[in-house]
């Protein structure tokens, strides 16, 4: 039953976004986020929406999947919108004035901009990173992108190794949890009824054997790794090295143009007096 859990939110595929170098995708994501926060005018938000829709199309991931991914933060979105709607003070007369509630034109635009920003932030980053990059590729990307930092004693390799081992053992431990749960059920344990406290207490007989076994595994794995001459990142080479292709350079150029486009649109709209 636990086996059905999918790891991360990676959707295997062969789109251009799937094939981009993970290092490039990390850089793209950072650029994309910066660009989102540069946007200030109506035109630039329209531009952002168009680019995000383009990303969705390029990734060939079902739109419904992406919308479903936003459900958990629906509350935050609504909350931010309401705050912006009611608490933005604008110049001129309020559009609505009932008792102490005043809604200005600026309030509506900020609320809408905020919504666009959050939706695009979430859709864009998840499409660029988590949906189209397998966790292990992402780990490789982070390791090789941040490798220069190890000069400053940042434990980049150690972090990547930890991630790899975690990813390797998650399915194993899930399988084990399943087995332990069945074993405890066979002894009459009940995980599904009773008060919350009762159900939490029922988890203890699962967690303890799971931890004991995880530590035993860690011990054996450490010995096996030592036997295979592991001694940290120093002097270690990699079989698969990441290579930049033309498409990767192209993607970087596009993203820089995207950022530049937003800045230009900001300036343009403020010139013709269509600010906000």
């Amino acid at each position: 039953m636990l086996k059905d859990i999918t790891l991360g939110q990676y959707f295997p595929g062969n789109s251009i976004l799937h094939r981009l170098d993970p290092r490039v995708k990390i850089v793209l994501t950072v650029l994309y986020i910066v660009a989102l926060f540069l946007a200030k005018s109506m035109l630039s938000f329209v531009f952002i929406l168009c680019v995000t829709v383009l990303l969705v199309l390029l990734s060939r991931i079902n739109l419904r999947v992406i919308l479903k991914g936003m459900k958990p933060i629906l509350f935050i979105m609504v909350f931010t919108m309401i705050l912006n709607l009611f608490f933005t003070r604008g110049e001129g007369e309020p559009l609505v004035h009932v008792a102490f509630v005043r809604i200005y034109r600026e309030g509506i635009t900020t609320a809408v901009y905020m919504l666009v920003r959050i939706v695009c932030l979430l859709a864009g980053t998840s499409i660029l990173l988590t949906y189209t990059t397998s966790p292990i590729t992402l780990t490789d990307g982070i390791e090789q992108l941040l490798a220069p930092l190890s000069v400053l004693h940042v434990p980049v390799h150690e972090f990547a190794m930890m991630m790899t081992i975690a990813l390797r053992f998650i399915p194993t431990l899930i399988e084990e949890t399943d087995k332990i749960m069945s074993a405890q059920k066979a002894r009459g344990a009940d995980f599904t009824s009773g008060s919350l406290l009762h159900r939490v207490r029922a988890l203890i007989p699962i967690l303890i054997p799971l931890f004991v076994s995880a530590f035993r595994r860690a011990d054996e794995l450490a010995i096996a790794m030592e036997c295979r001459c592991y001694r940290g990142g120093a002097g270690r080479t990699r079989m698969n090295r990441l290579h930049m292709h033309i498409r990767d350079y192209g993607a970087l150029v596009c993203m820089v143009l995207f950022g530049a486009g937003i800045v230009v649109l900001n300036i343009y709209t403020s010139r013709i007096g269509y600010g906000l």
Partner: protein, 286 residues
């Protein structure tokens, strides 16, 4: 004829004492020589010190006293530098019992690459070694699979591939078939025998008599000592000593022993089932 790969002199070992108690020695002054390219099975009941011996040979533990020489180099020399130890360790591979706890990476070929990567080889060299290791264990088709999608026997063959990609002279197997079903066992044994043919010295710890029978030489350990040492035939002829060590003998051997006790002229001890069948056939025809 003698080209000793492994020489053990007066090897003793005790684990650090726990709490107040004295540290009880686990190995008592072992002496042993193993020929290059031989396939040695090690038998012994639980707690007889087999894994401890394997860990000493694999340089995971250091002996309390005594010497181990491997391929002409003394691996227990306290003057060895970190780098020399590293180079020596690459010459000995170890395969353990639980295949799940030996695989490091999330993709089969990357796991096999793990050892060569640690040795600091060039990417093309690593690729070549990974491919040839995959061929040796017959798992080329699974290069891109995730370990958890494989059967136990397949996982264990990947673990073996990970070890042979380091091109060791010697491989230690510590109950590497114990968690496998008969198919998995057969797969692993086939790989083990094939590697021995290629000249790799193998030390194979097992509780399975039928596997021990396939070796050139069988060692029986009990309470940290080597009790019996010889060809499978010689060792399994000593059924009483074996029983004293908490071990059994292969079923065929036992059958012929009972027949001999009944006064039948069955000849010398038999260890393989085929040979047993032939003898029985001859006996029935008389």
């Amino acid at each position: 004829m003698t080209d000793p790969y492994l020489q053990i002199e007066n090897l003793s070992f005790s684990y650090p004492a726990q709490g107040e108690g004295e540290a009880a020695p686990v190995l008592h002054g072992l002496n042993l020589q193993i020929e290059r390219g031989s396939f040695v099975a090690v038998l012994g009941r639980n707690g007889s010190g087999k894994s401890t011996l394997a860990k000493l040979l694999g340089m995971i533990l250091t002996p309390t006293s005594g010497k181990i020489r491997m391929g002409g180099k003394e691996i227990t020399d306290p003057a060895l530098t970190e780098d020399e130890l590293f180079a020596l360790r690459a010459g000995v591979g170890m395969v353990f019992q639980n295949p799940d706890n030996q695989l490091v990476a999330t993709i089969v070929e990357e796991d096999i690459a793990f050892g060569p990567e640690n040795l600091g080889l060039a990417p093309e060299q690593i690729r070549a070694r990974v491919d040839s290791a995959l061929d040796t264990v017959g798992m080329r088709a699974y290069a891109k699979h995730a370990p958890h999608q494989l059967s136990g026997g397949q996982k264990q063959r990947i673990a073996i591939a990970g070890v042979i990609a380091m091109r060791p002279e010697c491989i230690l197997f510590d109950e590497s078939t114990a968690m496998l079903d008969p198919t998995g066992r057969a797969e692993v044994m086939q790989t083990v025998l094939a590697l021995n043919k290629e000249g790799i010295t193998e030390i194979f710890i097992t509780h399975n008599m039928n596997e021990a029978v396939l070796a050139d030489r069988v060692l029986v350990m009990d309470e940290g000592r080597i009790v019996l040492d010889g060809t499978p035939k010689e060792v399994f002829a000593q059924a009483d000593t074996l029983r004293g060590c908490g071990l059994g003998v292969p079923q065929v051997t036992e059958l012929f022993e009972v027949l001999r006790q009944q006064g039948l002229p069955v000849g010398e001890p038999v260890i393989s089932e085929e040979e047993g069948a032939e003898r029985l056939y001859a006996l029935l025809n008389q």
